[in-house]
């Protein structure tokens, strides 16, 4: 069992992130969250795609899978369904999650696989040196938008609500304690949990991300009922000030629960031996 200490999760490997990167905050929150779980190290799996953020599993002393760009969710799905007792957390950036891998979110949402997905959003393609991402604000100048972006940015929270994700939250990397508690809540949530994390890149975007956190976010309080989808949608549409905290939470059957139900049902009519299966092809 976990001894509750954060230290056991820290690897010797030094992160490749730039000084001041928001991802350090996310890493700390992951350490804190794992320290608060009562789960042994060998039963935790961190799955990622490619990008700055996707290096995270390499720094945590649990089972990890640093895969290919955009595909962390299908891989995490396979990990979880093969061994449902595992705690599976997928991590990725805004490009990874919303651009190349965007097509996987609606499907994991409708399956409601019990995985926690941390989208570390820095609104830029950082590892490839500063190109526009699907969350780069309109009219921003980047290395691929010399004259300003003409694509509208995507909003992970609105998408998640529209896709029917059963747990939707937002945090940011400058408030590690709050973020760690969101991650713990996400992991405890039986079903797919998506946590949108504002994780600034100062190398390519300067202090814009941190300014945004300061000027444009607020914490949801007890007036917000996460069980109320209409209210969740309403706060997600607020563009002037972005809500932080658990935006929506709904308990519905997980994919594994449905698989188990179907399996029991199928097996109740008898399980043929291989010999019997072969005989089904003999007239």
């Amino acid at each position: 069992m976990s001894d509750g200490s954060v230290k056991q999760f820290k690897k010797e490997v030094k992160p490749v992130w730039c000084p001041g990167c928001g991802n350090y905050g996310v890493l700390s929150a992951v350490f804190q969250a794992f320290g608060r779980l009562d789960v042994p190290r060998e039963d935790i799996v961190l799955v990622s795609g490619i990008g700055c953020s996707s290096r995270l599993p390499g720094y945590v002393n649990v089972y990890g899978f640093n895969s290919v760009h955009g595909r962390s969710l299908p891989i995490a799905t396979g990990v979880k369904l093969a061994k449902p007792e595992l705690t599976v957390v997928a991590v990725g950036g805004d490009g990874d999650a919303l651009s190349i891998g965007g097509g996987h979110i609606p499907h994991i949402a409708r399956r409601n696989v019990d995985i926690t997905f941390l989208i570390m959003d820095n609104s830029i393609y950082a590892l490839t040196k500063g190109q526009a991402s699907p969350t780069t604000p309109f009219d921003d100048i980047t290395t691929t938008s010399t004259y300003g972006t003409i694509d509208e940015p995507l909003d992970a929270v609105s998408l998640a609500l529209a896709y029917g994700v059963s747990f939707v939250a937002r945090g940011h990397s400058a408030d590690v304690k709050h973020l760690a508690s969101l991650i713990v809540e996400g992991i405890h949530h039986p079903g797919f949990a998506l946590i949108h994390i504002i994780s600034p890149c100062i190398t390519w975007r300067g202090m814009k991300g941190y300014d945004e956190i300061k000027e444009r976010t607020y914490y949801l309080d007890e007036r917000h009922d996460p069980a109320d989808k209409a209210q969740a949608v309403a706060v997600s549409l607020e563009k002037e000030r972005l809500p932080l905290g658990i935006i929506y939470r709904e308990r519905r059957p997980t994919y594994w629960e449905r698989i188990l139900g179907q399996r029991e049902d199928a097996k109740s009519r008898g399980v043929p031996s291989i010999e019997t299966l072969l005989n089904q092809f003999v007239p």
């Binding site: 060998e42 895969s67 595909r71 299908p74 995490a76 396979g78 093969a82």
Partner: protein, 586 residues
């Protein structure tokens, strides 16, 4: 008297062509006969035209047969679309519906073949019993049974079994239609002795398609996770496993696309389950990046590609062997994988199990190159032997290896023990990024070279342990035939025919396509002066691969063409005859 009969049926979508073919094959198998059934249709959803070609015999059947001994044409318009697939033999017996208005002189059959034509009022007999059109196929089965001496009881038993669930009335109706067809022949057709198909009854056989056999092989091998995305002609594997997996505590997922399907399989395999996916050419194209990931992160997985005609959407319901290069070389970088090719329906069962064993032990992607021709055809074969079932375990680290666990240990075999979540002290990060022995990312050129060598060393280890080729024909021959996959049947039969004609020829069909089986090829090629390479690919992908891997004789003859119609024995035999006896080269 005939002991080997090739029969073709052609008609419109509603004529029940395939159903009739299924009954014949089913009945033949219950009588202990071998049979082989090929279906052909356009890629319409419903309706259109369809045909099947069935060969039945006492001895094992290797190919779909050449020209037809018997043709059943429900109407001539539909037959005309299959003329090249259903050519008739000299003096073939042709049954058609007298309701078809085509005048005799317009019937699309070669006059030179002198067909013996029987016009049977199929439609009329069916309508007199059902009041409507359907049922022609059952009448036709009665006609065939009576004319050719198939045991009526076998077909009737098959009818009963099939329609049982629909109630007695349906069973009786169909038996009545069958009997009406037989009675018509007794009353109106002079039965000629040379039409009689004679056979000995034997132990009942299995009737199974390659796709079904492959799915059974997966279950037998203990595959615990399967994810797939429907695609012709691989869908039967996906559908059959959807039914079976829950029964054996397996997990089955219909993924949102092929990338996700392979991704899920990799995730499950990483977690310790034997994992598989199945697709066809376009799906394999999408999976290419994931194949590289499996190769570099050393994750066991089996990928079935039931090839169809390509490129792009090509002709989805027809067979080709043109995904070879994609299977061998697809994905960027140097990415070792194993490519196996089943050569018939029975092979699909065995190769599925072998693929799982290889994937688990060697920890890499194993691609099974099946094709539409073996995947979707029905064969009756001796029942698979459950005692032959192989289940393999992947090497996991022992307690001693866990104190300082190196997931990607550089060793002689290239095979390093693989831990998985749940194993304490076995924690590591599987990575698609180049890594050191622990799995930590590296961009050291030296480490990359060492890891490449380790990953490719596994193939060397495998090649020595799994020589996986089949040889046919004479050992002293100077001419050899090399083919792969589903061309095997026609190649083997052509070689047997050549030997009957006193022509010495040797044949080689590898099941292990990659890595190359050097020793076996060398031994086969050594005495040869000439080699004939048979493949269904326009650009001769197999020949190019052979040339790059083996020292072929100077005289290489290529028998290749695009897919759509499988090779006939005649086609290959003519080539052998020409090349051995020094006929004129084309």
């Amino acid at each position: 008297m005939r002991t080997d009969l090739t029969l073709g049926i052609a008609g419109s979508g509603g004529d029940g062509v395939i159903v009739a073919g299924d009954f014949l094959v089913w009945a033949a198998a219950s009588e202990g006969l071998y049979s082989f059934m090929l279906k052909s249709f356009g890629s319409q959803i419903r309706g259109g035209e369809s045909s099947c070609k069935i060969r039945v015999g006492e001895d094992p059947i290797l190919s779909q047969g050449d020209k037809l001994d018997v043709l059943v044409a429900f109407n001539w318009k539909d037959y005309a679309k299959f003329r090249s697939e259903l050519e008739i033999k000299e003096g073939a017996v042709v049954l058609c519906d007298s309701a078809d208005p085509t005048p005799d002189e317009d019937i699309p059959l070669p006059r030179s073949a002198h067909p013996v034509l029987y016009k049977i009022p199929l439609q009329q007999i069916a309508a007199s019993r059902t009041g409507r059109g359907p049922g022609k196929n059952m009448v036709m089965l009665g006609v065939l049974s009576e004319m050719f001496g198939f045991h009526a009881d076998a077909i009737q038993a098959a009818l009963r079994k099939r329609f049982q669930k629909k109630g007695d009335a349906v069973v009786d109706l169909n038996l009545g239609l069958f009997e009406a067809g037989a009675a018509y022949v007794r009353e109106h057709v002079q039965r000629r002795d040379q039409l009689i198909f004679s056979y000995r009854r034997a132990e009942p056989k299995m009737v199974i398609s390659g796709n079904e056999a492959l799915a059974l092989g997966a279950i037998a091998a203990g595959v615990g996770f399967f994810a797939g995305y429907p695609i012709t002609p691989a869908s039967e594997i996906i559908e059959y496993l959807a039914r079976l997996m829950p029964l054996y505590d397996g997990v089955w997922v219909q993924a949102e696309d092929e990338i996700a399907a392979l991704g899920m399989a990799l995730g499950a395999s990483y977690s310790g389950k034997r994992a598989m996916t199945a697709t066809s050419g376009p799906g394999l194209s999408l999976m290419n990046e994931m194949i590289g990931l499996a190769s570099l992160a050393e994750i066991p997985v089996v990928i079935v590609d039931v090839q169809r005609v390509g490129p792009s959407t090509g002709m989805p319901t027809k067979s080709e062997q043109s995904d070879l290069q994609q299977a061998l070389y697809g994905t960027h970088g140097d990415a070792p994988r194993v490519v196996l090719a089943p050569a018939d329906v029975e092979d699909c069962f065995t190769v599925a199990m072998d693929a799982v064993c290889i994937a688990e032990e060697y920890q890499l992607p194993v691609i099974i190159l099946s094709d539409q021709f073996i995947g979707q055809r029905k064969e009756s074969v001796p029942k698979f032997d459950a005692n032959r079932i192989k289940v393999c375990e992947r090497p996991v680290p022992g307690p001693g290896e866990l104190s300082n666990f190196k997931r990607y240990l550089l060793n002689e075999s290239g095979i390093s023990p693989m831990s998985f979540p749940g194993i304490k002290h076995g924690e590591y990060t599987a990575a698609g990024i180049e890594h050191d022995e622990y799995g930590n990312p590296t961009s050291s050129p030296q480490m990359h070279e060492q890891m490449n060598a380790k990953r490719f060393r596994k193939l060397e280890t495998l090649r020595r342990r799994w020589p996986y080729v089949r040889r046919y024909g004479s050992s002293g021959a100077e001419v050899g035939v090399i083919g792969w996959g589903s061309s095997k049947g026609a190649i083997k039969e052509a070689i047997l025919r050549a030997e009957e004609h006193g022509i010495k020829v040797a044949g080689l069909v590898p099941q292990l396509i990659y890595p190359p089986a050097y020793e076996d090829f060398e031994a086969f090629l050594k005495p040869l002066k000439k080699v004939i390479v048979v493949e269904m690919s326009y650009s001769a992908q197999f020949l190019k691969y052979l040339k790059s891997s083996y020292r072929l004789p100077d005289d290489v003859v290529l028998l290749k063409r695009s897919g759509g119609i499988p090779f006939t024995v005649e086609e290959i035999y003519r080539k052998i005859e020409q090349e051995v006896t020094g006929g004129v080269r084309v």
